[in-house]
């Protein structure tokens, strides 16, 4: 008899029971949500375990009366551009702060870090006035630009760059490589794991963002999925089936990224507390 079997005692049974019960609580809303995409509004609220036949109908409602494809495109465009821009800007900064240390740049870095404790509500009020002065209200860029630079991501990538040896940079310089080339062709390719974590972080934060888009968005043109869900929820007659479709669709990209890249996902979190 193996150790594991011998140890399967009564307390262990209750530990597993607790875990199974908690797991059910964690999964249940997702399960009910997916089931809800096939139900009529009444059954969504009351709940049933048998899938209904309204899936197509609900999908049509979500795409015809609520323009789901446009909201999905907006969310996807905004999150993707934020990732591309954010990875470039933040990794450059992290590399600059870590590999070109100077007193002045250390000081700038500390100021960046200080803003991490700044509550969002305090920044977005004056930021809104600035965006309005730029005539950028209700544009995708107004949602992308302010949140592509992230002090947290710079901090995280800087930790990663610590492992990149300076000797390689020096050797490349002796061979006549410019700084831009050393960065793009040697440093960045060696940082794939860190970059992947940073990209996930930026994507999910922007994809799930609510308060800032809520303020900046004035029309359907820039409306993102979280805003679409909220306006569906506050309609006079709530189309619960169609709403479940939109919520499900909004969760799919994050779920896919999470399941495909769990290691990087967790690595992103680990890097942030060290």
């Amino acid at each position: 008899m193996s150790m594991a079997q011998a140890r399967f005692s009564t307390p262990r049974f209750f530990v597993y029971l607790l875990l199974v019960f908690t797991s059910l609580l964690c999964i249940f809303p997702f399960f009910w949500m997916i089931l809800g995409t096939t139900l009529n509004p009444n059954d969504v609220v009351k709940g049933t375990l048998i899938p209904g036949s309204e899936l197509l109908n609900n999908f049509v409602k979500a795409t015809k009366s609520y323009n789901l494809p446009l909201y999905f495109y907006n969310s996807f465009f905004i999150a993707s551009v934020t990732v591309i821009l954010g990875v470039i800007v933040n990794s450059m900064a992290a590399y600059g702060f870590e590999k070109f240390r100077s007193r002045a740049r250390d000081w700038v870095f500390s100021i960046f870090l200080l803003t991490l404790i700044m509550p969002q509500i305090a920044v977005i009020l004056p930021l809104f006035r600035l965006i309005a002065a730029f005539h950028m209200l209700d544009t995708h860029w107004a949602i992308i630009l302010p949140f592509s630079m992230s002090a947290f991501v710079i901090f995280f990538l800087r930790q990663n760059f610590q492992m990149f040896p300076k000797e390689i940079m020096e050797a490349a310089r002796v061979d006549g490589a410019g700084e831009a080339r050393i960065f793009t062709q040697i440093a960045m390719p060696s940082m794939k794991a860190g970059i992947a974590s940073a990209a996930i972080l930026l994507f999910i934060t922007q994809w799930n963002s609510y308060l800032w888009p809520l303020i900046i968005t004035l029309s359907d043109k820039t409306k993102t999925l979280p805003l679409a869900m909220q306006s569906m929820m506050s309609a006079y007659t709530v189309e619960y089936g169609g709403l479940m479709v939109i919520v499900t669709v909004s969760l799919i990209p994050v779920l896919v990224v999470f399941l495909a890249m769990q290691k990087h996902f967790v690595a992103g979190l680990v890097g942030s507390i060290k």
Partner: protein
């Protein structure tokens, strides 16, 4: 060969090129707004016109009962929710690390799952599940746990409970991951030594695990306290704009409504946001002082 001085200049210049794009974005979208808020707090808006009122906004807020009520709700949620969540996260982290051998990865994955949902998405799911004639009440009535349905969203007391429950569902797994990483970094030999000395599991938890996890607990607490202080999405979506009757109105939601919904008094709204900034800084400092000082 370049002279040493000019090489250092070259390195310094390269360094600035690398950080320049981030500094540009930071200056425009972070530094300037924060600095310009110093101007905003001295102004009062009436319609589209604004005028100087000095510290008038700060005097006005002293008599703003609803704002302090909202801030009180933030503290109430914080006092109940943060300890419950941290304790649960710790319990599950210890169970997953020390308590079981099988399905560890699967349980870790499932318990973390709520943390990937957007705040709006889970708020909407909970809002539908917790309707008075909704599924949560139905299940509990069928199981005999409840005699009467609970008005989760329509009763002031239960609406606050709802937010505590929702926040705990969303964030426990997230904090558990931090604790798990912390536990993995503790040398197993410490426990073996304690075992040899005959220390009980409870003794080991309080005398080894907790002290060694203090930095991680501190991190979780500071971020959770700061998050609760800024709470916006849940009271706006889950309990429908701080309802019922402002029972779950939070400070951030109140400020948002001052600036964008009820009226557009930027000066007053910005002044109120200063209170949150100040509280966030003070609370973080207190926690770092109390918990952080011990390990040094």
């Amino acid at each position: 060969m370049k002279a040493k001085g000019s090489f250092e200049k070259y390195l310094n210049r390269s360094g600035w090129w690398f950080v320049a794009p981030a500094m540009a974005l930071f200056s425009v979208f972070m530094a300037y707004p924060i600095l310009s808020s110093l101007y905003l707090v001295t102004r009062r808006w009436r319609g589209l016109r604004d005028s100087f009122i000095g510290l008038g906004n700060f005097v006005r807020m002293l008599h703003d009962g609803l704002f302090w009520h909202a801030l009180g709700e933030n503290f109430l949620l914080m006092i109940f929710q943060v300890p419950i969540m941290i304790a649960l996260a710790m319990v599950f982290a210890v169970i997953l690390h020390h308590g079981i051998r099988r399905f560890r990865g699967a349980f870790r994955l499932i318990l973390f799952l709520p943390a990937i949902t957007s705040l709006v998405a889970y708020s909407i799911l909970f809002r539908i599940l917790l309707q008075t004639n909704g599924l949560a009440n139905n299940i509990m009535q069928n199981l005999g746990i409840l005699q009467q349905p609970i008005a989760w969203l329509n009763d002031p007391f239960w609406a606050s409970v709802t937010i505590v429950v929702a926040l705990t569902w969303r964030w426990t797994g997230y904090n558990m991951i931090f604790f798990l990483v912390g536990l993995q970094n503790i040398d197993p030999e410490i426990y073996e030594a304690a075992e040899v000395d005959g220390a009980s599991k409870v003794f080991q938890f309080f005398k080894i695990t907790l002290p060694l996890l203090t930095p991680v607990i501190l991190f979780s607490m500071v971020t959770s306290v700061s998050g609760t202080l800024q709470l916006f999405d849940e009271p706006n979506v889950l309990t429908n704009q701080g309802g019922p009757a402002n029972a779950t109105m939070t400070a951030a939601l109140y400020i948002y409504r001052q600036a964008f919904v009820i009226n557009s008094d930027w000066g007053y709204a910005t002044s109120l946001s200063y209170v949150i900034v100040l509280l966030a800084a003070v609370l973080a400092a207190i926690q770092i002082r109390v918990l952080g000082g011990r390990n040094k």
